[in-house]
Symmetry: C2
Subunit: 456 residues, 2 copies
């Protein structure tokens, strides 16, 4: 067979050892905090039945599903006429019954319903797995990427919102990243729409508020008028456009503005409860900001809306989530409400890279490499290698009796900080020469001293 | 939309929290040892171009690949005549350009060639990721399963074989499993075939030797005669059929039997070198057994063949590997030799389950749950929760003000060993009541005492 020039599919990535170390640093930080807050890990298969996935992400989402061709004779049962049918979706449905998961939420909902009798509610689950989307790849957008989700379902308590924000706070404190946690509540947005008599336009109104700073009030007004909103009602939004100040000032304004909307007041009360919990000790490391322009997931979030932005790097949201009312209704199990968040590991990676803030410990290299002079030295070194490893030290021996220059350059390129050398003299004295690759300093040491130096 | 009864594709699995804890115990044990021996992690995409995968696993393997339907208009460029072509493989090739990876070896080979200029050789890589095969699901055989591979490439040194066997030894010692590491060398099998003048029949002969115990010598002989082997040559195999004894006795017999085969003697020398290294301190915890019936991967292994069997549970091999000469030739990069092993996590899981040998620590549960009496108590508890977590204790509060019975039954079902209670009296004394869920014992303790008890 002719040699192939190897490549990988568009929008997918290989991860090199150094990238893996950094990614593992992020994943293990998130996982450890998930665990500490009592979340339990589950995993679901990469493939789901298309009947599980289709119709859950809107028409656009359906198109972005990766479908798996049925195995065996995938054309069996397909009528030849169907090939000329211009509706290829129908044909696709016949020749593929499974697809790759698009997110972790729908598989989680499916999991909950399928295993409802084995689950203790409230159920706090986390899940860190890749998802696939046939999106157009671009900078920072991939066709395969990891999601890190934590959800607590089967409980309406606002303690859950508190817990998730504390968890977010701890993750970013551990990663030494300054972030702002933006909070909103869909009920406040519903209240605003209600107060101006435009309850059905909640999405338009929120999007408009969101654009205020970018395009100015006149353009926002024109946009809403263009969508058919009544001018008198639009005028009622002016005080919202004018809203300023810190969280307390905003809340105080909203309490007055929404005084006639039960829903709106409930949203404010929910926010106040969560913020009250968050004001208790121990203090947060991150800033909490009430932001009524937060419109994330408006079609399914019913209460809290959460979004996390870096204070240091201009990049989209690096974590987000919210409360929903009905996770599993589509699978025949109504009234499962909950609240969840999802960390964007790829963006967090970009932020840490840009700030050069991966700790040295995130790069786990071999600590010491033994030079290989030949058989006699190997016999001397292998037992020492065993002792070092039994002490938890990452150690290796250069496998081949190559030129010294090549062996040292391997250590250099592999970021190995120490090289140990054992020749006739060292063997006679039952010692090794340890070379610090950075300073060039060499010391003749016993195995015990070697262990202590490497452990330090 | 009508409610769907949710299910997952045949041959795939959901993993519950308890299963995940156990799986993580296995994966993290293997990963830690991989790291300690200087292996570096990489990851490759779930999807590879079909041009990378096809033709690498034989005709049967090609059929077991999961193919991904091209996204967008998958029928564009397909002539309507092609649908009636009975060769559906041709059509499949047009409507799908990507497939799910079938193993970790071919993607690794592709990775090495694609990134050859960034890699320092010898390259010691490990990879723990799922693979997919459209196999017929049956007990212990799944369509999605994890492989845990470690390979060292770009080095011919037998130290690599030693390192991998030491690594295997350490993994199974840590897992507290008694295993036997079976060793063979393809050159010995080649030598035997050469000595009897049947070099081309190496596979037939090995398979025959392997069946000896099961079906008896007469049947084995008949099988080989049926395949056209000359009777006189077959008689020359008798001493091999008769071979008995420990490793040294077998080696001594083979040295004599293979005295005229340079290849055979080289195989013996290689085995002896590796076993010599393994006889050095620190001693192995596992048994090493020379087993010339080991025929694993005969079509690509060129030197050492390794297979690990449980001494305690009758199940297939739980780890295996060997040395190969040409990993990357198919992608245009010749002469990359190496040696690798792969752990079978699913079978190791089954062995540990059957022996009830998962340690209690493999099941990571919340350590303490606070009962939720209401708002006043919540205000008292949340700061304590924060202190416990800052000490690394996995702690949670029951989110809802539910009946006590429900809260305790949640703790019970979630295997939470301690429940902490704070009512009026506790709050007044700045203490909590800690209940041991197993013994039923209750103690009124300070937060500091609580930390010490939970840390113990």
């Amino acid at each position: 067979m002719a040699a192939q020039k190897p490549s990988i599919p568009k929008g997918t990535r290989d991860f090199s050892p150094i990238e893996m170390s950094r990614r593992n640093y992020i994943f293990s930080t998130i996982r450890e905090v998930f665990r500490k807050y009592g979340f339990q890990q589950i995993e679901t298969p990469a493939m789901e039945n298309l009947s599980t996935l289709l119709g859950k992400y809107g028409e656009e989402g359906d198109k972005l599903l990766f479908r798996i061709l049925n195995s065996g004779d995938f054309l069996s049962g397909v009528d030849s006429g169907e090939f000329s049918d211009p509706d290829h979706a129908a044909l696709a449905g016949k020749i593929s019954k499974r697809g790759l998961r698009y997110d972790l939420t729908v598989p989680f909902a499916r999991f909950v319903v399928q295993h409802r009798n084995e689950i203790t509610f409230p159920f706090k689950r986390y899940q860190v797995q890749p998802v696939w989307r046939a999106d157009n790849p671009q900078k920072g957008r991939y066709r395969e990427f990891y999601q890190c989700d934590a959800d607590m379902i089967g409980s309406d308590s606002l303690i859950n919102e508190y817990e998730l924000i504390k968890l977010i706070d701890e993750v970013f404190n551990r990663l030494k990243l300054k972030v702002t946690v933006k909070l909103n509540n869909r009920k406040i947005l519903a209240g605003i729409s209600e107060v101006i008599g435009e309850s059905s336009r909640i999405v338009d109104i929120t999007v408009a508020i969101d654009k205020l700073e970018k395009i100015g009030r006149d353009n926002v007004r024109n946009e809403l008028l263009g969508k058919g909103m009544d001018k008198a009602r639009l005028d009622l939004l002016d005080p919202v456009f004018d809203m300023k100040g810190n969280n307390e000032e905003k809340l105080s304004f909203l309490k007055n503005y929404l005084r006639d909307s039960e829903t709106g007041l409930k949203g404010i009360a929910e926010l106040e409860t969560v913020m009250g919990y968050l004001s208790l000790d121990p203090p947060l490391g991150t800033t909490i900001e009430l932001d009524i322009t937060l419109a994330r997931g408006l079609n399914y979030y019913t209460g809290a809306i959460i979004e996390v932005k870096s204070d240091e790097v201009n990049i989209g949201s690096i974590c987000g989530g919210g409360r929903y009312d009905d996770l599993t209704g589509i699978f025949g199990m109504p009234d499962v409400s909950g609240v969840g968040i999802s960390f964007g590991a790829d963006r967090i990676y970009d932020v840490l890279m840009q700030l050069d803030r991966f700790p040295a410990s995130a790069e786990e290299h071999t600590q010491v490499m033994f030079v290989n002079f030949g058989e006699k030295e190997i016999q001397y070194i292998l037992p020492i290698l065993g002792i070092l490893r039994s002490k938890g030290i990452i150690a290796e021996i250069y496998p081949d009796g190559a030129k010294l220059k090549k062996q040292f350059s391997y250590a250099d390129n592999s970021f190995i900080p120490f090289v140990a050398i054992a020749g006739d003299q060292e063997i006679a004295e039952k010692k090794v020469t340890l070379k610090d690759m950075k300073s060039g300093e060499q010391n003749l040491v016993t195995v015990e001293e070697l262990i202590n130096m490497l452990k330090a």
